[in-house]
Amino acid sequence: MSNEMISSTADTNILPVSESGEIVFERVSKSFTTNTNPAVDQVSVKIPAGDLVVLLGPSGCGKTTLLKMVNRLYEPDSGKIWMGGKEIHTLPVNELRRQIGYVIQQVGLFPHMTIQKNISIVPHLLGWEEKQIIDRLEMLMQLIGLPVSYLPRYPRQLSGGEQQRVGLARALAADPEILLMDEPFAAVDAINRERLQSELIDLHGKLNKTILFVTHDVEEAFRLATKIIVMRAGKLVQYGTPLELVTQPENEFIEDLLGSSNILRKLSLVNVNSILKARKNQSIFTGGSQPVERPGTVLHPEDDLRSVVSLLLCSGRDSLPVKDSENHLLGTVGYSDLREMLISNLPSE
């Protein structure tokens, strides 16, 4: 419901850059004159519309460079980038940017403008009507969980976490198909970061935007991602779901990065939802026996497998039901799933 509400406001005003928010990189390379090695080296990758894809890798591996080529803050030396079937260089640059949300670590709110003005800047540029902008503002404030009374405030009157929420609202203001986020939560304290992360997961579920999210924090990547792109020295090393990365790491670099030689660490990176999804897609995991319906321990999709182990041990059962926040039964997860997951190279069997 909220999904329709959100996109309908913009339909009449935006010439859609793309029918879908799919992003395709085709052998994209970029070097800086100051460096001999390319910052991004022949990256080809397809990001499906509506996914939350995380770019993960050590500092300096080219994540930011790759991201900034999507909204043309950097121009590739070679290769092509497609957005929903259109090469991005066929569009006027500012028109392109107005249809891509952009969130950065330092937020970059305009200090001399109120929150209201900050958020409504792109809708104004696109010539929205005042009434439409006001409605949109209210909806966005609700979405990011800030009271409407904040609208006349200035950025300096907000906490760091609140500022980053406003940054997100500003990026979403004109209802873009695509959201680019460059370490947006890195400067926020740990407690707020976790809250912002779950809010982003929520929001992604509701809005169905394509999100390209940069981080060098492995936990963050695994919490958020539907798929992860691991980069190293400008090259794409592996592209897959969190479960695939843990169960079938391409090479030692990935294993080291994830620390996945440690079983508990491995379990802590994957959540219940990944198991359910993998079972649905590939029917690898058979799942446990149907549980007897009686009050007791229940799993949630966002629980990581490490806590599942402890819950299983505590409950003394072989499997536990998974329920979403509305208490619908999504399936069951048990020891057999964990055992299967820990045996590598599953699909080749």
Partner: protein, 210 residues
């Protein structure tokens, strides 16, 4: 004080002349300084050479500068405005440049990433954020022009300097005192008025200062 009471209209006329001269200098300084400062903010390597030239101009003694311009522009307000505008560039551009280059890079990156074009970025972001520094520069220009402008009376540019020069020649201390008093009043008024504008511009960006 007798001189001021008996010749109030003369003093008022010279006061207005002096104000006009100062406003003209501010106007022409901004006309040159704003675009030049913008250019220096964008083209880093130009900063050193241009600022050195402006620094050298600033060190020319004012009386000789005025006199040097007479063969080119004759006597009167024109050489005075030209010389004072040339002096003003150093004060104005230095401040304006600081204002432009100390804007947080993340703010400019966000503006670019959101799709504001160059013109929109300037008017909506850069100009308001650099405005307090620009006003500080204008204040310095006003004060120095009011001060050095007294010497311009020597080349027939009028203004309150007339009282000072005539007073010195005729040894009329009352006249000198009146001239000095009027210049001081003008300086203080200019300083407080522009400082007030500066604080308003600052307030929008930084909020209340303790």
């Amino acid at each position: 004080m007798n001189y001021l009471v008996n010749n109030f209209d003369v003093v008022a006329k010279l006061f207005l002349q002096h104000l006009q001269l100062t406003l003209a200098v501010i106007f022409f300084s901004l006309l040159i300084g704003i675009p030049l400062g913008l250019l220096l903010a964008r083209v880093r390597w130009l900063r050193g050479p241009v600022m050195s030239v402006l620094g050298i101009i600033y060190t020319i003694p004012s009386l000789s500068f005025f006199v040097l311009l007479i063969p080119l522009f004759g006597l009167g307000t024109r050489p005075a405005i030209i010389a004072l505008t040339a002096y003003a560039q150093l004060l104005l551009i230095r401040n304006w440049l600081v204002g432009l280059t100390t804007i947080e890079p993340a703010v400019l990156e966000a503006a670019r990433g959101m799709g504001l074009n160059g013109w929109q970025r300037f008017w909506q972001i850069e100009f308001p954020l650099a405005l307090p520094m620009l006003l500080a520069g204008i204040r310095l220009v006003a004060l120095s022009s009011i001060g050095i402008g007294t010497i311009a009376a020597f080349i027939n540019a009028g203004g309150l300097g007339v009282l000072l020069f005539q007073g010195v020649i005729t040894a009329n201390y009352d006249k000198i005192f009146t001239g000095a008093l009027a210049v001081t009043v003008l300086s203080f008024a200019a300083n407080y008025f522009i400082r007030y504008l500066e604080q308003r511009a600052e307030f929008r960006i930084y909020g209340k200062r303790i």
